[in-house]
């Protein structure tokens, strides 16, 4: 690794962190938005560069990962940043989504956040992104907990800033705070037990020491606490209760950021701990009994989430419940520990972030122009806002997984992996979920295109800068659906690294 790329790992977190700290000082007026745009853009550039670099190196000498010792203290005694393909891919995704949503939200924030709070909004915004990026690239178990709390605390504040539009944002944020803190505390207990067992906090080192020691009650308890905590954070059914209220009441920009990144980072934590820390030598990370339990949760998430989505009164809630179902797909793919299923799971993380981020941005445009996302008020939307409703339909098709959209590619790999690893029932659930996704997408189509338009006035025109990120995100999902070669390559290599037990 040459000297130009050697400081890049730490820059991924450092750039948004500096931005977040500077925002309260210089972030008045338009400057907060500019600062956020520049820092998230720079972070995207840095993580994208690292992704290309690691992917190129990994094809030469697999498995390849970058290790960066903070303060020059070598691991396992010092804290190291460890970036492999999965980390780099998701870091690019998170910072890229941060950039897109920031691009979207100049006017949205003007609309929904009072002027004197805006610089603090941008500060929290950038610190949340810092925390999420930090979780992705650190190689230290306790760092994961601290960064998780940094991102969670800032996200509670961001959700609560929706109180101007809907006072339920406060109770939603408080519920999320209580559940999120309990989840994070479970993770803290798990890390403590692992430390008691192995005497180290470096994830690679914990893994190495666990392989030598027999599996005993301490390790199993740690794993149970960890899975419960992570499941709370990624909103896996039945621990998803905080999510719909939080997504539907938060400011629209925050909802888009959360839906696209926060739960994905929760899933990343799950993957990292299950496969890079707890994985047993030369075998599956989870036993059949574990897969059964998690599979039941995922199946319930897919069925319940999709059915609930079909009977929600507003588009925001519909999208939130559909996220519950999509989390089910992603987790079911990672659980079985088969290479194709894992590839599908990683692909679905990326594609779902693009599609659901784009859809929540569409909901943001609806709030901006109509002041509501209640489905009853959207009658005839196809004539009144052809572009936005067209975008929502395209996103919906992506969620169903119509061939030609990105959703098809990831579901294809999920199905292949689930069947090849001998779990046809789970594969059937994925198929049923797609049919149910068609139901709730059709519900929108029926209201928007087959009902006569209402003539409530639109408050604003369609600003190009708001629609541009929607176009880019949904366009990317279509492009990746048609030309999936490169991203499948990256996801496949990332899955291989993860299943190979390399932390």
């Amino acid at each position: 690794m040459n000297s130009e790329t050697s400081m890049l790992p730490v820059l991924i977190v450092l750039i948004p962190l500096v931005g977040g700290v500077l925002a309260p000082i210089i972030g008045r007026g338009i400057f907060g938005w500019l600062l956020a745009l520049v820092t998230t853009g720079a972070a995207t550039f840095v993580s994208g560069t690292l992704l290309l670099f690691i992917h190129a190196q990994n094809t030469l000498t697999p498995p390849f990962a970058i290790s960066y010792p903070l303060g020059g203290w070598p691991a396992p005694h010092g804290i190291e940043l460890k970036i492999d393909l999965l980390s780099a891919l998701l870091a690019t995704l998170v910072s890229g989504m941060g950039f897109m949503v920031t691009l979207f939200s100049r006017q949205g924030v003007d609309d929904e956040i009072p002027a004197d709070r805006r610089r603090f909004f941008w500060s929290l915004w950038l610190l949340a992104i810092t925390g999420l990026l930090g979780i992705l690239i650190t190689g230290d178990a306790f760092n994961v907990y601290v960064l998780l709390e940094i991102s969670s605390l800032t996200i509670y504040g961001l959700i609560a800033m929706g109180r101007q539009r809907n006072r339920q944002a406060l109770t939603a944020a408080l519920n999320y705070l209580v559940l999120g803190s309990v989840g994070a505390s479970f993770i803290l207990i798990a890390i403590g037990l692992l430390y008691a067992k192995t005497g180290t906090l470096n994830m690679a080192d914990i893994h190495a020491k666990l392989l030598l020691a027999p599996v005993d009650a301490t390790v199993l308890t740690a794993r149970a606490f960890l899975l419960a905590g992570v499941a709370l954070k990624m909103a896996l059914f039945p621990l998803h209760l905080w999510m719909p209220a939080a997504y539907s009441t938060a400011p629209s920009a925050v909802a888009a950021l959360l839906a696209a990144t926060a739960t994905k980072v929760g899933i990343y934590m799950g993957m990292r701990f299950i496969f890079s820390v707890f994985a047993m030598s030369g075998g599956a990370a989870l036993s059949e009994a574990n897969i059964l339990i998690i599979g039941i949760c995922c199946g319930a998430a897919i069925i319940f989430g999709s059915l609930s989505a079909a009977r929600q009164p507003s588009l925001s809630l519909l999208l939130a419940y559909s996220s519950v179902a999509q989390i089910g797909y992603i987790v079911v793919g990672m659980t079985v520990g088969h290479i194709d299923a894992m590839t599908g799971s990683i692909l679905h993380m990326v594609f779902h972030a693009l599609i659901k981020g784009g859809l929540f941005l569409c909901a943001g445009i609806l709030i901006y122009r109509l002041g509501t996302t209640r489905l009853e008020d959207l009658a005839g939307l196809g004539q009144r806002m052809p572009w936005v409703s067209g975008a929502i339909v395209v996103g919906g098709l992506g969620m169903i997984g119509i061939p030609g959209t990105a959703g098809f590619v990831s579901k294809f790999y999920l199905l292949k992996g689930l069947i090849l690893s001998g779990h046809p029932v789970l594969a059937g659930l994925v198929l049923i979920g797609s049919v149910l996704a068609a139901i709730y997408t059709w519900r929108f189509v029926e209201i928007a295109y087959l009902r006569p338009a209402e003539d409530t006035p639109l408050r604003n025109g369609l600003p190009f800068e708001k629609f541009l990120p929607v176009l880019l995100l949904l366009g990317a999902s279509i492009y990746l659906g048609l030309q999936p070669g490169a991203i499948i390559d990256v996801a496949h290599d990332a899955a291989q690294q993860l299943l190979g037990g390399s932390p």
Partner: protein, 123 residues
């Protein structure tokens, strides 16, 4: 395992469960927050117990000091966790102040009733 560790191991579970019970059973949001704090305090006690050695002293290098010392790392970790817990409290209290301003109450069941009434009005 020394008597101290046994006692602590029982104590931290009791404290955690007291906190969790308060968190679930109380309707008052401030009491819920206190329960959360108690729950986290139990975890701190667990970490600190991890570092304890019988007859251990503070790990500062001095002439003639005994070689048995307590493990400082859990203490450092828990210092961070205490700060996190303090911040969680602060955020929770700030949110509760907002809830009180908007709803005029901090009882979770009354807030749920108000929200339901709002939803029916809007429908």
């Amino acid at each position: 395992m020394s008597l101290f560790e046994t006692f602590n191991s029982i104590a931290f579970v009791v404290i955690m469960m007291l906190g969790l019970y308060t968190l679930i059973a109380r309707q008052n949001l401030v009491k819920k927050t206190l329960g959360l704090g108690l729950f986290q305090t139990g975890i701190f006690l667990m970490y600190i117990t991890l570092g304890v050695r019988d007859d251990g002293v503070a790990p500062i290098l001095q002439e003639g000091a005994p070689l048995t010392y307590t493990n400082p790392l859990p203490h450092v970790l828990i210092l961070t966790a205490i700060v996190v817990s303090l911040s969680t409290m602060a955020v929770a209290l700030a949110l509760i102040i907002g809830v009180r301003e908007e709803y005029g109450t901090i009882e979770a069941d009354e807030i749920a009733t108000i929200d339901r009434a709002d939803a029916e009005e809007g429908a």
